[in-house]
Amino acid sequence: MRRTIAIGSAVLLMLTLGWRSPGQAQTKDDTIVYALQSDVDTWDPPNSVLREAIILGYQVFDHLAVRDLKTRKVIPNLATSWKTLDDTTWEVKLRQGVKFHDGSPFTAKDVKASFERVLDPAKKMTARGNHAKIKGVDIVDDHTVRFRTDGPYPLFVERMTALVMHSEKVLREKPHEWVQENPVGTGPYKLVRWNRKQEHLLVRNDDYWGAKPYFKHVRIRIIPEQATQIAELISGGVDVIKAVPPDQMDVIEKSGQARTATSPILRTAMLQLDQAARGGPNPFTDKRVRQAANLAVDADAIIKHVLNGLGDRTATAVNPMAFGWDPNLKPYKQDVARAKKLLAEAGYPNGLDITFNTGPPVVEPAIQQTNDAIVADMAKAGFRVRQNYIGDNTVLVARIKEGKGGPMFNWSWGYYSVFDADAILYDVFKCGEPYSYYCNKELDDMIHAGRSTLDQKKRAEVYVKAQKLLFDDAAYLYKWGLRGVWGISNRIEYQAPADEVDRMFLATPRKK
């Protein structure tokens, strides 16, 4: 009786809900498999804040400009050239003969529609803030557009890599909901199907205007558990995984099936100190205490021993890959005696108690281990640090945004993938910004000066001065630039991307 019920209901379930069998059209040799830890919320990149959405966007859409992975410079893509006509006008020439996946040609009106959609406040696109300096887009002819900007906009070229080009026809004819699930781009791959939180299947766009991808199919699988990702990689089920923890690199290297690759990425880690007193009075409002914290920590040793060398020490939070970085500014070196002396001068001869809000390793590898090392170093100078672990990163971030992160907390910044000092100084150091716990009028003026001219030489000079100020004032406890670790199957050639955007269309089979 019971068995009949069990079998009967199982059969019934399968019949009513439908049994989906996976497509068998593609073979292993013409398919590359890429794993993500979590799925995207939408196939409309400007409507998402997720890194995964940017990555998927790159496979199916094109941008006006892209970053060359070798030189890290911005190079033409759908735009063939650009120039300024005056301080607030950019003219961009567009590539000819490019077609969308639905066969319609790519022209100036698609550029105008794509930008106007993002800029329209009523559309509530999450990417709007990144392009808000653009006031309007004018069509000159089919393959020339002009951008009017609100004041000089030095980041214009960088930001051309950050918006996908939609088809004007699709945006006009299809409802918003349709666009969320059906990307129509000009990119190297087309979306075949999307099984939410399970996998995406892409097929090569054989009419692609640029170099055609080697692999006919891309499967993007969602595998939440890191151990499973690694098991898939070394058993041949997946070809590329990202964010491999440093302690697992050996497992991959020794498998004979796969290897690891690292690349510096545009993300700087630091401990923010509540200089601005957003959470009320605290010891870090005193410059000497902040300096003492920086002097107490031996960051070089932590990078070497805890991170296996996977970090690049920075003098401030400005990343070596960002425009404006000052190579001549040397980072703090550990000097416990001086740290103690500074603390005594600040009125803490017997040390002081500090609460440290820490988070999980979502973007920063081995964050718990490095935190422990930092706390131990700080103890030597007299900081008695109590770690307060907040296991959910979104909760930590929300708390920080509300001004409740202080007096000291884990922070890292990915620059929204804009390789420019402004992309961190404005968000993380300017008075009154939601993620800034530092406030200094002098610095604010420099930030403003840096974004108000198109003269790159002048801008670089401003940023050198800003970094000197941030270093001398020990705004935060500075750590290092992060390095990403990828796991790559030995059957393919693939370059780890510095901008954290995986490009499956650049993968090729490995030469035997």
Binding site: M1, R2, I5, A6, S9, A10, L13, M14, L17, G18, R20, S21, P22, S38, D41, T42, V49, T126, G129, E177, Q180, N195, R196, K197, Q198, E199, R221, I222, I223, P224, E225, A227, T228, A231, E232, I234, S235, G236, G237, S255, D392, T394, V395, V397, A398, K401, E402, D427, E433, P434, Y435
Partner: protein, 306 residues
């Protein structure tokens, strides 16, 4: 019997209603979803606009009424995160979880029934002790550890099964076994004690005295009665099984509703969480209803004594 069914049905409705209220209340206590939804550089104005847009500015009982009156029509609202109907999202992910839990249940029975009966028949023997040890080991083993061990052995070393994913029968084996191993120990022990107890009953002695062969006695007379507590417990354990499914789904990248629920709680995506919890509660309650019916059929004392 009619009253019995009716009473169970009323209970069912009350439980589902209670759970929907509870979920609603808890979600509103744990934090402000708007802070998580908005991009990092959004201002206060934007915040208040969203607050209003999502109806969070209304008193909670008004919000609940709006939710409940739509929910009975299958409209749980749109996911705040993905902008798709929550009901569609949850329904899409329901089959994989139901397949997995059903397969886990079947796997647990395949392990527990023969071993439990064997242990009961060979009480205090080597076999019985071995079964006890197996049960203790199974109970003590964390699901995620077992799952990863299976992956390492069968996918990485032997390359016999796919490490993770969903779609073919091969994808089923490891997750179902993992989940089955989680449920099997308690079931096995229950079968054992049930069979032992019943074998001492007088009607078994009668059956034997009548000259029935031992297998007939066991299967026809003893087993049926030993089943009653097992079925009851399996019904109760079904909720546990869904809990186990969260870990199993995560380890094996199984696209089920359990991981969807956990993700949505993390994102404070109220509509999806509410929809998933209410539907899952409904399933658990229905399973228990079926169990009660089956037990009632098997044991007249229950339906008549009531």
């Amino acid at each position: 019997m009619k009253y019995y069914v009716l009473r169970q049905l009323i209970q069912l409705a009350v439980v589902v209603l209670g759970i929907s209220m509870l979920v609603f209340a808890i979600l509103h206590v744990i934090g402000d979803p708007v802070l998580l939804l908005l991009p990092q550089n959004a201002g206060k104005e934007e915040y208040e606009r969203y607050h209003k847009l999502l109806g969070l500015d209304k008193p909670i009982h008004v919000q609940y009424w709006k939710f409940a009156s739509r929910a009975v029509q299958g409209d749980f609202g749109k996911s705040w995160y993905t902008d798709t109907p929550a009901f569609k999202l949850v329904l899409e992910r329901m089959p994989p979880t139901l397949y997995l839990t059903t397969a886990g249940l079947v796997m647990a029975l395949l392990i527990a029934l023969p071993l439990g009966i064997l242990a009961a028949l060979k009480r205090h023997s080597f076999i019985d002790n071995a079964c006890t040890m197996l049960a203790v080991a199974g109970q003590a083993m964390p699901i995620f550890w077992l799952g990863i061990m299976l992956i390492i052995i069968f996918a990485v070393r032997l390359k016999a099964l796919p490490a993770s994913g969903y779609g073919t029968w091969e994808h089923f084996l490891m997750p179902a076994f993992t989940l089955g191993a989680f449920l099997a120990p308690i079931t096995m022990r229950l079968v054992r004690s049930g069979v032992i107890e019943i074998l001492n009953m007088e009607y078994i002695r009668t059956a034997r005295a009548k000259g029935f062969a031992e297998p007939t006695v066991i299967v026809k007379h003893a087993f049926r009665n030993a089943c009653i507590p097992v079925i009851t417990v399996l019904g109760l354990q079904f909720g546990q099984l869904l809990g186990g499914a969260i870990v199993t789904e995560t380890v094996f990248a199984w696209p089920g509703v359990a991981t969807l629920t956990v993700d949505s709680i993390r994102n404070q995506d109220f509509p999806v969480v509410q929809c998933a919890v209410v539907l899952l509660a409904l399933i658990i309650v229905v399973v228990n209803f079926i169990v009660d019916m089956v037990v009632g059929l098997l044991d007249p004392r229950i339906r008549l004594g009531a």
